[in-house]
Amino acid sequence: MRQAFTRRRFLALGSIGAAMGLLAACGGGAPEPTAKPAAPAAGQAPTAGQTPAAKPAAAKKDVSLRIISRAGVFGSHTKEFAQRYAKETGYTVEVEDVEWGDIPKKVQTQFISGDLADVMVCDQAFWPELAIKGVFLPIDDLVKAKPPPDFEDYPDLEWQRRWTDGKLSGLSGDAGINDIITWYNKDMLREVGGKEPTDEWTMEDYVSTMQLVAQKKPGVFGGDSSKGGSHVGDGWLRNWGRWILDPTTKKVELTNPKTLDGVKWVTDMVKRKLYPGRQDTQGTSGTALFAAGKMWSVTSNPGNWGGLDTAVAKKFEYGAVLAPKGPSAFENPPRRAFIPYANRHAVTSKTKFPEEAYGLLVRVTGYESMKWLTLNTGKQPGNLKAWRDPEVLKIRPLYAKVADLMQKCTDVFPVPWNTRYIEYRDRGDNELLAIEYGEKPYSDAAMAEIEKKLQEIVDLPRP
C-alpha cells in the first residue's frame, strides 16, 4: 500500500482537491440571484405587495430579499411567515438562520463588507450600538403610507427613537418583561404546607415560602430571579424602588439606599441558600433546576414558558403567577414591572427594496405571525393584540395581566446612552455578581467602587 502511493497519485489527488475547492469557492461566492433590475419596478411594488396572491406574476421584477432569523425555535415564526410572504408576493425570500448571540457581530461584519441582509432582528441590548452606526432604515414614511395593522399594539416603540434621532426603525418580534412571572411547583408546595401564591403576593410571602421549603427539604432551593449584575439584575433590584441605571441612562445609582436594599436582599437569599449560588446554576439556568425538581420556583420572563412543559415532562404540576410585589409596588405610583423589552426586527439601511422589505417586516411581526408563534411554540409574542388574543389566553391566561403591565410600564431598558452595553454588562457581571454570590464580602465601600467604575463607562463618549 505504501509503495502504491506514488507521487503521481499524490499529484492527481492534489489537483482533484484543488479543482473541487475552486469549484466550491466559486459556487459559494456566486452572485445573488438577480437583484439588479428592480429599481424602476420598485415604484410599482407597493401595490403588488399589498394584494396578496392577486398578481404574483407582477413580481417578475425579480425582487430578492434576505432576512436574518434567530436560529432555533424562537425564530420559527420568521421562517414561516417569510415563506408565506414569498408565496403571497412572488418575491424570493431567503432566510438566514443565525445564532442569537452572533447576530450583532454578524450584522456588523455584513455591514462593513457591504453584504447586509434586508431585514434583521436583534437583541434589544445591541439595538443602540447598531442604530447609531446607521444599520437601520427609518420607516416613519413607510408607516405613514401603509400603516401596519394593529400598529398601536406594538409595545414600546418610543424607546427606539432616542437612538435614531427620533425616527422609528423597528417593530418588535418578541416582547415581554424581565422577571415578571413566577412558576412554582404545586406538588412541592402541598408537601411543605405552604400558602398558594396569588398575583398580589409580596416579597414577604415569597421569602417565607422559600424558607419553608429550605427547612422541610434541605438541599432544595426556594427560587431564583435574574441576578445578572448590572444589566439584567437591574430589573429585579428596581423592586425596591430605585435602579442601577437611571431613566436617562446617563447616571449610575448603585449606591442609592433603595438599590442597596435590593442588593443586600439578593446577597442574603444566596447566603441562606434560598437562592441558588453560582455553582448551582453554572452552565444551565434556574429553569433547569426548577424542572429537575431542585428548586421550588423560578422567576423569569414570559418566553420561558415555552419549553417548560417539555422540561418538566409531567414530573410535577406547576402553576404561574405574577412575580411577588416588592416595596416599590406599594409606593405612589405603584411600580410593578421594570425591564420591558422588545427584540425588534428592522429593515436595514442598505436594502435595495425598501418597500418590499418593509412589507416583509410587517408580515413577520404582525399579529398573525405573533399569534402563530405563541400557539405553535409557546414563545411570547411581540404584538400586544396577540398577547390578548382569546386563543392565546386559553393556554396562557396570565398574558392578559402581563400585557397590561407592558402598556403601563414607564421604566427604561437599561442600556447606557453611549451604547457601550457590553463593557457595562461585563463590569457589572464580574464585580457585582461576586458580591451577590458571597464570593466577595458586601461593604458600602465596595459598592461605591463598583458604581464609580460603571459610571466611568457610562461617561465615555459614543463610539
Binding site: 453560582r278 446554576t281 453554572q282 452552565g283 464580574n430 464585580e431
Partner: protein, 320 residues
C-alpha cells in the same frame, strides 16, 4: 525540462553579471536565483500576511479607532492608559503568567511521560497513541461544551463520581477560585497527548541505542540511564517544545472565550481575552493593537531569555 545547458544558453550574460556583482560563479549565481524563486511563495506571504499587518497594527496602536470612523492619532496615549488607568490589564497579564507557569512544565513533563510510556514497545501502541491523541483532535468549542457539562457542580457526572467517595466536588468553572485550575486541567487534557508528545516520541526514538548500552556496561541503573542519557539527548527537543509551549500558553484564549467568558469574577480573564474584548467589543481597536504590541514584546523577551539560558542545560550531540 530544461537542463543546465538551456539555462546557461538563455541567461549567460545575466548570470556572469550577477556573478561579478556578488562575486559568485555563474553556477552559484544560478543557484541563488533559483533559491529565491522557490522562496517566492513564502516571501509574498510574509509581506502580505505578516509584515503588512504588523506594520498596520503598529500604526493603529497610536490611534483611537472604533471601527465606525477613521483612526485618530493620539500618540502614546494608549500605552499610558495601559500602564496607568486600565485596572484589568496587569491582573490579566499576571493571570496569564500563572496559567503558563502551571501548564508549561506540567505539559512538558506530562507529554514526556506519555511518550516514554509509548516508547516501551507495548502491544497495541497505536491504539494507546490514538487514545491519547484523541483529546487533541476535538475542536475547542466542542471541548468547552463537553467539559462544561461534565464539570457541572451539581448536575454533572464528575462531581457525582467524586461524591460517591464522600467528597464534595468543587465548583470547577463556576467557582472564582477553581476556574483557573479547571482551565489549566482542561488545557492539559487537550494537549498532553498532542503534537508535543509525538515530538518527544520522535526525540526518544532518535537516541542511539549504543549510548544506552555503553551506560549499562558502566553499571548504570534505569534511573541513571534516564537522567544521564535520555534527558540530555532529548534536551534539544525539550527546548523546542518549551519555547513553543510558552508561546502557545501565553496566548490562551479559546477556552476562556467559549466556556467561561473570562469569569467568574475575572478569574479566567486572560490577556489575550482582554485584547479581544477591548478591540472587538468595547470599540477600542487602537488600544487593542497597543496591547497586542505589549504582548508581543513580552513574548519576544521571554523567548530571548529561554534561548540565552539554553546553553546551560541543552546538550547538542555534535549536530548543527
Amino acid at each position: 525540462m530544461g537542463g543546465e545547458a538551456t539555462s546557461a544558453r538563455a541567461f549567460p550574460r545575466a548570470l556572469t553579471a550577477a556573478g561579478k556583482l556578488f562575486r559568485m560563479t555563474p553556477s552559484a549565481a544560478r543557484e541563488a536565483i533559483w533559491g529565491y524563486v522557490f522562496l517566492i511563495p513564502w516571501l509574498l506571504g510574509l509581506l502580505i500576511f505578516m509584515v503588512g499587518p504588523i506594520v498596520a497594527s503598529f500604526y493603529l496602536s497610536f490611534t483611537e479607532y472604533s471601527i465606525l470612523g477613521t483612526p485618530k492619532w493620539i500618540g502614546i496615549n494608549n500605552f499610558v492608559t495601559a500602564f496607568t488607568k486600565d485596572d484589568l490589564m496587569w491582573p490579566s497579564v499576571g493571570r496569564t503568567f500563572v496559567y503558563a507557569f502551571a501548564i508549561v512544565p506540567l505539559g512538558l513533563f506530562g507529554s514526556l511521560l506519555l511518550a516514554v510510556m509509548l516508547n516501551q514497545q507495548l502491544l497495541g501502541t497505536s491504539l494507546y497513541r490514538t487514545l491519547f491523541f484523541m483529546a487533541n483532535l476535538i475542536p475547542i468549542v466542542a471541548s468547552a461544551i463537553l467539559w462544561t457539562w461534565m464539570l457541572h457542580p451539581k448536575l454533572g457526572p464528575v462531581n457525582w463520581l467524586i461524591g460517591q467517595f464522600g467528597i464534595e466536588g468543587p465548583g470547577w468553572m463556576a467557582s472564582p477560585t477553581w476556574a483557573l485550575p479547571t482551565v489549566i486541567l482542561i488545557g492539559l487534557w487537550s494537549s498532553l497527548g498532542g503534537n508535543r508528545m509525538i515530538i518527544f516520541l520522535a526525540g526518544l526514538q532518535g537516541v542511539p541505542k549504543e549510548l544506552y548500552e555503553a551506560a549499562e556496561i558502566d553499571g548504570a541503573r534505569q534511573w541513571d540511564k534516564f537522567r544521564n542519557v535520555t534527558l540530555p539527548m532529548i534536551s534539544p527537543t525539550m527546548l523546542f517544545n518549551l519555547i513553543l509551549g510558552v508561546i502557545g500558553a501565553l496566548q490562551v484564549f479559546n477556552i476562556a472565550y467559549v466556556a467561561t467568558a473570562g469569569g467568574p469574577s475575572y478569574a479566567t480573564w486572560f490577556f489575550a481575552l482582554h485584547i479581544y474584548r477591548q478591540a472587538f467589543e468595547y470599540f477600542r481597536m487602537g488600544y487593542g493593537s497597543a496591547l497586542a504590541w505589549l504582548f508581543t514584546l513580552i513574548l519576544l523577551g521571554l523567548t530571548y531569555i529561554q534561548m540565552r539560558t539554553a546553553g546551560r542545560w541543552v546538550y547538542y550531540a555534535g549536530e548543527q
